[in-house]
Symmetry: C2
Subunit: 420 residues, 2 copies
């Protein structure tokens, strides 16, 4: 069967997937894309006796666009009848459109670039419970980006030390303190003890500063254990949990979204770059971000466009727009998110105070800027690091050059000594 | 901090990870591996004031081996103190050892090749409930490989047609019938109706043939929905469920292992090749297979070494040995699996009857050979395809050339006409 029809106009009810395809040597692009369309829907590698005309008619996908790129790569688009997908089942979507096709010998490389979800498919999912507006309401910060830190070292502190570092960061002026992605419940730092001590500290600092302070405890674990941790956080008056969405996986994430008991979800993307980094093979961060908005995380790490982690600026901006806007046009295709709320973007990884003006310029105010080493690495420690960050943000918001602002602000001045 | 010590002898209690590293241009391998060791454990990109000497002493990993390979790649080994990992939390292991490090700018490429799990870490996990011996007991087949098929077309049949195709395959002589990876609960094929009809057919064919017949219903979904499907399968007298382990994810898989109510778990690996295919970047199938054995699937797709899917023979054999042997030496490192049972290997993808002698030669008897198109693509349909497969297996087990066996077996002869 040949699934190519370049005159085909996708129906509004169809789900579209865009792939970058590099056929194996001596394989035509036509054969390659037909096999991709088949393997991701109703077909297999050989003709079969059990195929019915009805199925071929009703469920065949259509390859409706093939664009030649450099390096023998082709950007292709396939429209899939919506019946090929179970409503509200994210793993099933991936098993179809990001499954066996990555391993086909007739391909040299394959990358899933993006989805366009039709309205009917969106309805199967909840999207974010809070989204950007909800996050603003919880944090009581309306007019500026949120500032956060990750307790460092990543692991090793005991619960009291952990709470202490968090308290210093809050006291210095940060809004959010987050566990690191590899810190769950350890022999030296039990989840319950850590969370209890850290919320005690939060309450204390909120009283001192009269500012709302947020703690993001990492609940990443087997699903039931994760939900027990959610309940514990809830019982202590937490507003949020964080989860490593890719290592916990989409099944567990959907369960968390359905059972978060009113807690907002902060999504860390540890492991994404194993999938997303190769420009020719794997799954783009854009496609993952679309799926995560659909399922419904409230905050999502999208990269920094600057700093220690890979991710070109244009790509990061595209992801930012896709998760924050009500509708987004990428490569002439429109994703209308309908009732699915926007997700607050999180920039994290290798950031320090001196990068604040750039961050503000790139991402604007609807973002969370997180500083790990860039806070605790301050020569005078965590509280001074947090102060330097607030000073840098205030200056950047008022268009005052940081160098100038630093003249009268010792913490920011010291940040220049370390990172300038 | 420098984490390299090539004289270091890893302790028996430590967890070892092996990576293939390609530093970015102008970055030394020493700097690259130290940053990998740091980011996957206690470190960050800059010096911090919150680090304690106790933590550096007790939790520092050691890079104890660096081997130069071609193309500016290095095979490195890192020994991690076991306290860095939460017992029994598979997502946490990945968040640490397969997390942020894939995105570091100082690396051009990074691939996680394998783990060595110490005894203490193994104890946190259950491993397979049944394993190879248990699968033999359930299926009542002791002396030969198991033969299976996937109902085709992948999706599109209604529950009655689905059961019909399954019945034909069982009647023709196959042991196992499996749902395809993208078939869950669809508008045209409801999970409950399909499973009910297919088990009715199974009971009928078991009575007719006096052979044990196995059905693997695909329960891949959000965790709670998955567990509801497990209970439904159990209530109808099923022995197995199948799950797409990577698209459902490790959190949900652990939950399934803990709550399978006595059902065996068949693991499909859809999406693995997005991670595993690039020889320089991502996560090897070997490492994924190790983690899946640890968590405890009973059957796992490992590739075919022949057929439509990519995967060189040597690599597939290594994975086979790692999941089936009580202990395995790969690259001079020994993984002793202790009480963790072996997993039955499944070969699936582009196989047909004429490949049977090769399959038997490569994998031996402790394997499941699955034929989708290679069964239903038979010119005379599914039952004839199943017969041809049993005929091919019987001939291969008795060292009779298939050509010769086909002389007196019309179904096998017809298979030659199509695939010869």
């Amino acid at each position: 069967m040949d699934y190519i029809n370049l005159d085909y106009k996708p129906k509004k009810s169809e789900l579209i997937a865009e792939y970058l395809v590099k056929p194996a040597p001596h394989v035509t692009i036509d054969f390659a894309v037909s096999q991709i369309a088949a393997e991701s829907s109703i077909g297999t590698w050989t003709t079969i006796q059990t195929m019915k005309p009805r199925i071929a008619k009703e469920l065949s996908p259509h390859v409706f666009s093939i664009k030649r790129k450099t390096n023998n790569r082709f950007l292709i688009r396939i429209a899939y009848p919506i019946a090929l997908f179970e409503k509200g089942n994210a793993p099933q979507l991936l098993s179809a459109l990001a499954g066996n096709i990555f391993g086909m010998k007739i391909l040299k490389e394959l990358r899933l670039e993006q989805f366009i979800f039709p309205k009917e498919y969106l309805k199967g999912f909840k999207g974010p419970l809070y989204g950007i507006q909800g996050v603003r309401a919880i944090t009581k910060v309306k007019e500026r980006p949120l500032l956060g830190t990750i307790v460092k070292p990543k692991v090793g502190l005991d619960p009291i030390e952990h709470a202490q570092v968090a308290g210093e960061a809050w006291a210095g002026g940060l809004d959010i303190v987050k566990d690191d992605e590899n810190l769950t419940s350890m022999s030296f730092n039990d989840f319950k003890r850590r969370v209890k001590k850290t919320f005690e500290k939060r309450d204390m600092i909120e009283n001192l500063t009269n500012e709302k302070k947020i703690y993001l405890p990492n609940v990443t674990a087997e699903t039931f254990e994760m939900l027990r941790r959610v309940e514990y956080v809830k019982s202590l008056g937490g507003e949020y949990v964080m989860i490593d969405v890719l290592t916990a996986g989409f099944g567990a994430l959907q369960t968390l979204r359905d059972n978060s008991n009113g807690l907002a979800i902060h999504a860390h993307r540890a492991m994404h770059a194993a999938l997303t980094r190769n420009p020719g093979h794997g799954i783009s961060m854009l496609a993952l971000a679309q799926l995560l908005r659909l399922i419904g995380v409230d905050q999502l790490h999208i990269g920094t466009a600057i700093g220690k982690m890979q991710g070109p600026k244009k790509e990061v901006k595209t992801i930012f727009n896709e998760i924050e806007l009500p509708a987004y046009v990428s490569n002439e295709m429109v994703q209308d998110w309908g009732n699915i709320k926007p997700v607050m973007a999180v920039c994290s990884g290798g950031l320090h105070p001196l990068l604040m003006p750039q961050l503000l310029k790139i991402f604007g105010k609807d973002a969370i800027f997180q500083f790990g080493g860039g806070c605790h690495g301050h020569p005078n420690g965590t509280r001074a690091g947090a102060r330097a960050l607030r000073q840098a943000l205030d200056a950047a918001l008022n268009n005052i050059p940081l160098k100038k602002a630093a003249e009268e602000r010792p913490e920011l001045r010291q940040a220049f000594e370390k990172w300038g």
